[in-house]
Subunit: 316 residues, 2 copies
């Protein structure tokens, strides 16, 4: 039995045929062209699903379901996307439109929740009951898997830990609130923190690494400077890791999962990030006993969206 | 079929015989005498359970299980209490000792989680799938019910939202961390906030209400002053409600439960507390759509501990 997973992004729509172990056996993608009307995008998603089944020499009867991971807030009861970041989606009917083209159950989830399910089924948290996946990217995306299933609350808006305040009244967040974890721990926040430190310390290696052009600072710059012994770079990285830790300790005190999986571009720093992070977390979590929540890097990379979306249908 | 629920507190041990709808049909309590050895307390708990069955004219065959709600961290796999606040419990075997006296399944949970289960089975959140119960007392106790069952994580340490940092680096918390929600939103914190405001404003009604003796300030004093139009009292209450809201918004962004139930002494303020609290929460939660999480007062009062502990056995 196979599953279709569709990762609807602002740039491309990626679809895959996935087996029950979360392995992609075929995939295809097309540009989203997000300025289009929502209905056109949905029809393209349906066509992509039909196509990928046909090109794999399979029929609809070999596929159990079509899962869709979307940015923003889906409503799986209604079969709609209530709204999606960066897309012209507003209460867009997905299920009913797609089912005109492909007669299969259609399941819809938030993309961060799909990433968490992918890690749980086939990635770092494979086989564990409870895990939380945190994606440190443009924002802080978070997804929660409880008893092997995505937890999304009664109205599909749960697991928004990026919008958990860690510094009440602090930095402005894109959500309108102040002091959210995302405003401190996202790659976007790290870039701002790096720029501010470099601007205040012209002698820092950070400035040389970007040839004095702070607009060229990215989420790696502070880490690169720190690794070369730059004091300012070190200070930025240390403070950034403290911000990640503050939210992560909250997450562990709240969910006590077997594992927290850290993904997103910043997680590419590997143990350079994770080792000091674990030290801070294990020092300050509430439960001092054993066993402790493990903190591990994500394994699914760019395939997380397709695999997680597909696996929505596994126990559905 | 009946269930025994035992609420193990620092002052008394309360036990009840509870029916499957969460109604207490008989109850008894004895002093904890917490300075005693843990084994003596456990033997008393077993004797109390045996007693209550006998006095109700029932036999052990009429009872499905014995549930125990304890402060601190239980380990239901091991059948122990890892440690309990204010008691000399340290990896105390509960199940094995109790089963020498009463041949029934013995289930153990944290007391805040039991309160949440009680509200879910028979209280404010009756019949709902997902609810979170927050007890504003000496600390901020929190319990989470997902799909009708207590969620306590893989090592029984979950749902400690009282120890979620809302102001990184802020007020010292009893847990050793700084800036936890509990350090701002507990009754204890409210009392400190009230005393500090009164000390800095000798003309405030707060001072008159306690005849100038700030050691007599309790969790009602600021509310009483505010209700009589005192500006300082008002300011304390407004700020305190903002602190509750900050954590509550996090809780809703994280769990998106059908309902958050507010209990503990402070919740006795009723709508005077809940109305402004809801306004702040609905303004700042991440999901602006419908339906929204409801925020309601607890209904189980002092019976929450017994009923929740008993109901641990319902679907076990």
């Amino acid at each position: 039995m196979y599953f279709i997973g569709i990762d609807l992004g602002g740039t491309k729509i990626a679809a895959g045929l996935v087996d029950e172990n979360g392995r992609i056996v075929a995939k295809r993608s097309i540009p989203t062209r997000r300025e289009r009307k929502d209905a056109e995008i949905v029809e393209d998603m349906a066509a992509l699903a039909v196509d990928i089944i046909k090109n794999s020499g399979l029929s609809v009867a070999d596929v159990k379901s079509v899962g869709i991971g979307a940015p923003g807030t889906p409503n799986n009861d209604a079969g709609t996307i209530v709204y999606a970041n960066n897309l012209n989606f507003f209460n867009t009917p997905i299920r009913s439109v797609m089912q005109k083209y492909i007669d299969l159950p259609v399941l819809i989830e938030n993309d961060a929740n799909c990433a968490a399910l992918a890690e749980s089924v086939a990635g770092a948290a494979k086989g564990l009951k409870h895990s939380v996946t945190i994606t440190l990217g443009t924002g802080v995306g978070t997804g929660v898997v409880i008893n092997g299933k995505v937890y999304s609350g009664f109205n599909y808006s749960a697991a928004e830990m990026g919008h958990m305040v860690i510094i009440s009244g602090g930095e402005e967040c894109t959500c309108g609130r102040r002091g959210c974890w995302e405003a401190y721990a996202s790659a976007t926040a790290l870039i701002s923190q790096t720029k501010a430190a470099a601007a205040g310390n012209p002698g820092s290696l950070i400035n040389s690494l970007v040839n004095g052009d702070l607009s060229a600072v990215d989420a790696r710059t502070a880490f690169d400077a720190a690794k070369q012994g730059d004091e300012i770079g070190n200070r930025v990285v240390e403070q950034y890791i403290k911000y990640i830790a503050e939210g992560l300790i909250n997450v562990i005190n709240i969910f006590a999962p077997e594992m927290v999986v850290i993904g997103g571009g910043v997680s590419g720093e590997g143990e350079y990030l994770l080792k000091p992070l674990r030290e801070l977390v294990y020092r300050d979590i509430y439960f001092k006993g054993e066993p402790k929540t493990r903190i591990m890097p994500a394994q699914m990379g760019n395939e997380a969206g397709i695999v997680g979306a597909a696996m929505l249908g596994k126990d559905a």
